[in-house]
């Protein structure tokens, strides 16, 4: 393994803080949001301290600098995600990106009787917009179930369902189980049946280099804050065909070509969907996050997180009272381990772990249908990232064992 984790950790100021009365922070809540390297924080500070101005139609120096940095951020990110600037629409995150697909594309192109195929593994962000649209447009939502033992999609049902579908929306990597779905297979089958396909890459982008062109999906959604970037920014990647088929969603300044009181005409391309003053500092920070990640081998990053998850899952699975969901670390997962203890309530367990310095998430992870499939209302979840160490995993396991002894 050639990742130099100790040197990587030094890039993240928060990792040296302590919690709960002097305990070293062990941050294992990366699927919720990752920490930010100094370079990302500095890029935003530098923007505010040196170049802050509103962008576009810019003549003065600051506005020109801000515009250049903002548009350069788009280029950097487009390249990082394997596409071009004309296929990248900035959004506030995956949630807005999916809503943009629903309200901008699907609402304009789907109608009564059309079928949207989703899965039981989806995050609420990829369920609720479709329900609202289905209600308005009498669209049918069809759901591919999860095989709970393996924590994978039932691909037989998928293939049996995809034939007459207009749009397939599938999460690339589950935020609850860490499962990486066979998206190549999903995309190929969807395309074959003539369906458009959207892949929710909120959890995938931090762990894989997204290659939008290579994937051949129609839409891909990404959140900056889950891949070392700032809050409040993300993007939708979309093919030019789909962008051309989209109707405006948010409207106002910047997305128009000409406004009269009678009628307005719109820009073409991404600009049509980026109304109002953009998230300028955020875009710059997001691009810096891609730059930071580009220093590392994403394959190694992925293997590292996966190894930590596999070790953790294997070690805690055998502890008394513990159930681990899915098969973390097996195959191609993303460093997530969801589990429960049979008598210590998830929230209390999280509290006890926090007292030892371990930050883990508890709850339904915005995936209630998936948790329903497992018959639970919440899980404890640890999720690893590039800066976590095997030492942290072992300390976590040991502390969990200790808590179970004491409270189990």
């Amino acid at each position: 393994m050639s990742l130099d984790i100790e040197s990587i950790r030094r890039d993240f100021p928060i990792l040296s803080r302590t919690v709960s009365g002097g305990k070293s922070l062990v941050y294992l809540d990366n699927a919720a949001t990752t920490q930010k390297p100094q370079s990302v924080i500095d890029a935003m500070t530098r923007y505010y301290e040196q170049s802050n101005a509103n962008v576009h139609r810019a003549v003065h120096t600051l506005a020109a600098e801000a515009t250049e940095q903002y548009e350069a951020a788009r280029d950097t990110l487009a390249e990082w995600f394997g596409t071009t600037r004309d296929n990248l629409i900035f959004t506030s995150g995956t949630t807005e990106a999916i809503n943009l697909v629903a309200w901008g594309w699907a609402r304009a192109n789907l109608g009564a009787g059309d079928v949207v195929l989703i899965t039981e593994m989806e995050h609420h962000a990829d369920i609720v917009p479709w329900q609202l649209l289905a209600e308005e447009k009498q669209i049918e939502i069809r759901v591919v179930p999860v095989i709970t033992e393996s924590g994978t999609l039932d691909m037989d049902v998928f293939h049996a369902s995809v034939d007459d579908v207009s749009l397939v929306c599938v999460v690339h990597t589950s935020n609850v189980l860490g499962t990486r779905n066979p998206i190549e297979e999903i995309i190929t089958a969807s395309k074959k049946s003539g369906a458009k396909v959207m892949i929710d890459c909120a959890q995938a982008a931090p762990h894989h280099r997204i290659d939008f062109k290579g994937m051949d999906a129609d839409f891909v959604t990404i959140s900056g804050h889950k891949m070392c970037g700032p809050t409040g920014i993300g993007c939708l990647l979309a093919t030019s065909d789909c962008i051309n088929q989209m109707q405006p969603f948010m409207s106002g300044g910047d997305m128009i070509e000409q406004v009269t009181m009678e009628k307005s005409t719109f820009q073409s391309g991404p600009a049509k969907f980026e109304a109002g003053t953009p998230k300028i500092a955020e875009a710059i920070g997001f691009a810096e996050a891609a730059r930071w990640l580009s220093q590392h081998d994403m394959g190694e990053l992925h293997a590292h997180c996966n190894a930590l998850a596999k070790h953790t899952s294997e070690s805690i699975r055998v502890l008394p009272g513990i159930t681990v969901y899915g098969e973390p670390g097996s195959g191609d997962g993303s460093g997530v381990v969801s589990f429960l203890h049979d008598s210590i309530h998830a929230e209390d367990l999280a509290r006890f772990m926090d007292a030892g310095g371990f930050a883990m998430r508890t709850g339904h992870h915005c995936a209630q249908p998936l948790l329903d499939a497992y018959g639970v209302t919440s899980t404890n979840r640890v999720s690893f990232y590039i800066y976590n160490t095997m030492g942290e995993a072992n300390a976590f396991i040991a502390h969990l064992e200790h808590i179970i002894e004491r409270f189990g």
Partner: protein
């Protein structure tokens, strides 16, 4: 309302002497089994406490004109808090219960140990108990 029944007063004093937060949790866990228990098969929507991350149920009634509660939860910390609450309210006149404030939580230094949702859940529970006590006292 600093005068709590002797058994609760004793518990408060035990808690005050403890400095390790984990030990306080342990004591709460032990108390869980001492609740006047509402068995799981009596849990229903009607007696459910809302705004809690965990399932929590409370039944209140009068016995010989005095207030009496039973509780049950899927989280032992919540059930421990219920046990303490039982000590605070059971056997009092319902009117008295309707006017109680759960100051024992602070006296026990528990406040900081509870997560926001636990804290919130506890306050919801206590409010529910007071509301029921009000109803019971009006029915008298």
């Amino acid at each position: 309302m600093s005068e709590w029944p002797k058994p609760l007063q004793d518990i408060i004093e035990e808690f005050v002497d403890v400095f390790d937060p984990m030990e306080r949790y342990e004591m709460l866990f032990e108390l869980a089994s001492e609740v006047n228990e509402l068995p799981v098969d009596e849990w229903n929507e009607g007696n459910r406490i809302h705004g809690c991350q965990s399932e929590a149920h409370v039944e209140c009634s009068l016995q010989d004109g005095l207030f009496f509660m039973r509780g049950g939860a899927d989280a032992q910390i919540v059930q421990g808090l219920m046990a303490i609450t039982c000590l605070a309210v059971n056997g009092r006149a319902p009117k008295e219960v309707a006017n109680l404030e759960p100051t024992f939580i602070e006296q026990m230094n528990l406040k900081a140990s509870l997560t926001p949702s636990r804290s919130n859940g506890f306050l919801n529970m206590f409010k529910r108990i007071k509301d029921e006590a009000t109803l019971l006292s009006e029915g008298e």
